[in-house]
Symmetry: C2
């Protein structure tokens, strides 16, 4: 054993250099996952291992049946909040996708997904053994995904296999450009072909209003640590009653010798899922989330303000559809790229300049294209953010109109 | 929307009634998951969503490549600690099993597992579509699982299918009786037939010494929230280099339109796994875990002391193999069952009496058979625990020898 004390010491006091308390963090994946005050308090109370299992009902030993803490109520409220019939908390949005794909399709089936889908949508399909058809996007500068694109790809599958794909995956807002698709229209197209729709709402549910019933989707997946002010890892899996019959199917295995059966347990969930602190943060943040979703329009206003102000800088152009419908922003910046070519720190100059102004979260080294998210920043912080960019521009002789 | 403020208020201040700070909690699944002081501090620091992703390396964007916090180092140290070549933290022990089963076997293959296996071992096999052969146990009162049992079941599969099973699952210590099997001997038997062994060390690794190399197993799975002083959900997946080649296989899917590929991502893990606070608690507790594993013998002593003292009570008998090799104890208590028949609170009298003495975690209502775990209790607490039982016995006229 070479695990000496010296070697282990580095684990004893792990501090977060870029924590919320020290910096304005505009990391595109992190804004919606900042804990609420209530969640932060709950963390300490429920930190220990299986803390939520204290009152697991012996007759129905399952996470969603626990009433103290109020998990059972929460699952019902969560489903209602998303306009769905059933909801479960699973370990990640990607796991929610895997579960839905596994239970709604079979190996060899086709899934149609948009070409801006997160890598985990592809991986979940690969694990299940699905064949993938990608709905193209319109390319630079808008990268638009259209309902017609879904129709065309479904037709392609019908032509190739004689039947529609088993599933469609729709990325509500993508991770690259923060584009919001017309999910209702896409779902309508899919319904015409009888194709069930899984909506990846990782960037929308929890920060903006998402109503699965209105949108006409069969399943909503989302990410607690991305958009619900919860710890990682927490995923949300919400679905219609009809989809739930398949997705939440219980175990039917029987031990050949012992005759043991586990007929209570939801098979694809492997029984219980998030049995501790992260689930509690999701629950404790829920009132805060319900409230903040009502303020989504103001968040979009902030995003549009930022785009407008940054586009005053020579050579700055936001990529993706216009107007901005989401707070994740992808900026092209030819002028800062030119600066970086002559700067001794190369592309890192932007990171340095921002950090010196208390701003982090834009990928170090990038200047020509970079992403950030202004969700949940105060107007004061938003203004400081754009003024910092203006200052940096002027410092390096880039015009601000 | 009926999610009124009144309805949401119940989520605002969720307290844990049975927390460590208020009770001695002997819940059989909870003792090894009580956070270390270091983990509790780290929780607050790293609570926010994707907190560990601040310094995700852009060229190799993968959880196990992150060096700040020291995740990459930790994975190496974790593998070494378990006597394995590679380690990953996944979302649950059950997910680790699913991943191993999925990547080491195919639908229709046989898996041999012991009849005391946790339900999630059965479910993971069911999800993958494996057929199950159960190694019998010796039944009351020892419920012993033997290496010969494995040999017999493997032979049975060979006879039936012409080849050995794809996998063997060995439950190192079971959840029902806390029996420890002879894992080294079972692994030797399996090796003779060329059957890879997955060791479920949910109740052993993290509290007691487990060396995969010495035991001769291919994969070790364990549970951070059960035995590593970490938050749920955290699972451990450790393996030999050879097994890792299959289990950690990277994605090969390609977008047919976009030509996007994700060749860096570990397929069955769906890329990154535990991206936040629970992973940090596991890391922060690791020095503590390394240290406490060295004190395992004393923990076993405590368990034997408890068994000895409780068996002084008339009608008390511990079930499972003798002597106790683990701190999870299954007690049969004919005398307390007799008391319960006449008590107005029925079986709940024991729960009430213990709670009045500051002890919780034994399933309310049970008297004839009940389980508990004394891991990590101080000697003072252990003595209070047995004295409480003696007191309760005398109070109800049950003899203590």
């Amino acid at each position: 054993m070479t695990l000496t004390k010296d070697r282990l010491n580095k684990y004893l006091n792990i501090r977060r250099e870029l924590s919320e308390s020290k910096y304005i963090n505009v990391n595109p994946i992190q804004r919606g996952g900042v804990l609420s005050k209530e969640a932060r308090m709950a963390l300490i109370e429920w930190g220990d291992g299986y803390s939520v299992c204290d009152f697991c009902p012996p007759q129905t030993p399952r996470l969603d049946k626990i009433t103290n803490p109020p998990i059972s109520d929460f699952y019902k409220d969560l489903a209602e909040f998303l306009g769905m019939d059933e909801a479960r908390v699973v370990t990640r949005c990607r796991e929610a996708k895997l579960i839905a794909f596994m239970m709604l399709a079979r190996p060899g089936d086709y899934i149609v997904l948009d070409s801006l889908a997160h890598y985990t949508s592809y991986l979940a399909a690969e694990v299940v053994g699905l064949r993938i058809k990608e709905v193209p996007n319109s390319g630079y500068p808008e990268f638009r995904v259209s309902p017609e694109g879904y129709a065309a790809k479904i037709e392609e599958v019908v032509k190739e296999t004689g039947r529609p794909p088993a599933l469609a995956l729709v990325t509500h807002v993508d991770y690259l450009y923060g584009n919001m698709v017309n999910a209702a229209k896409i779902a309508e197209v899919c319904r015409e072909y009888g194709v069930p729709v899984v909506l990846n709402a990782a960037y929308t549910a929890g920060v903006s209003p998402v109503d699965g019933r209105k949108l006409g989707v069969d399943v909503i997946v989302s990410s607690g640590h991305k958009s619900w002010a919860a710890c990682a890892p927490t995923g949300i899996l919400a679905m219609t009653e009809e989809a739930a019959k398949k997705i939440l199917r219980t175990s039917s295995v029987e031990g050949e010798w012992s005759k043991r059966r586990f007929a209570m347990k939801e098979l694809a969930l492997l029984g219980c899922t998030v049995m501790g602190a992260p689930l509690i943060t999701l629950i404790a943040s829920f009132p805060h989330v319900v409230e903040r979703v009502g303020r989504w329009e103001e968040e979009v206003e902030k995003a549009r303000f930022v785009v407008r102000e940054l586009e005053r800088i020579d050579g700055f152009k936001h990529l993706g559809t216009r107007p901005k419908m989401h707070t994740l922003i992808h900026m092209e910046s030819q002028s800062f790229y030119e600066v970086s070519k002559k700067h001794k720190r190369r592309g890192y100059f932007l990171y340095d300049e921002l950090k010196a102004r208390g701003i982090v979260g834009i990928q170090p080294g990038l200047t020509k294209h970079f992403k950030f998210n202004v969700y949940g920043l105060t107007w004061y912080q938003v203004k400081h953010f754009v003024e910092s960019f203006h200052e940096i521009a002027r410092k390096y002789g880039v015009e601000v109109r």
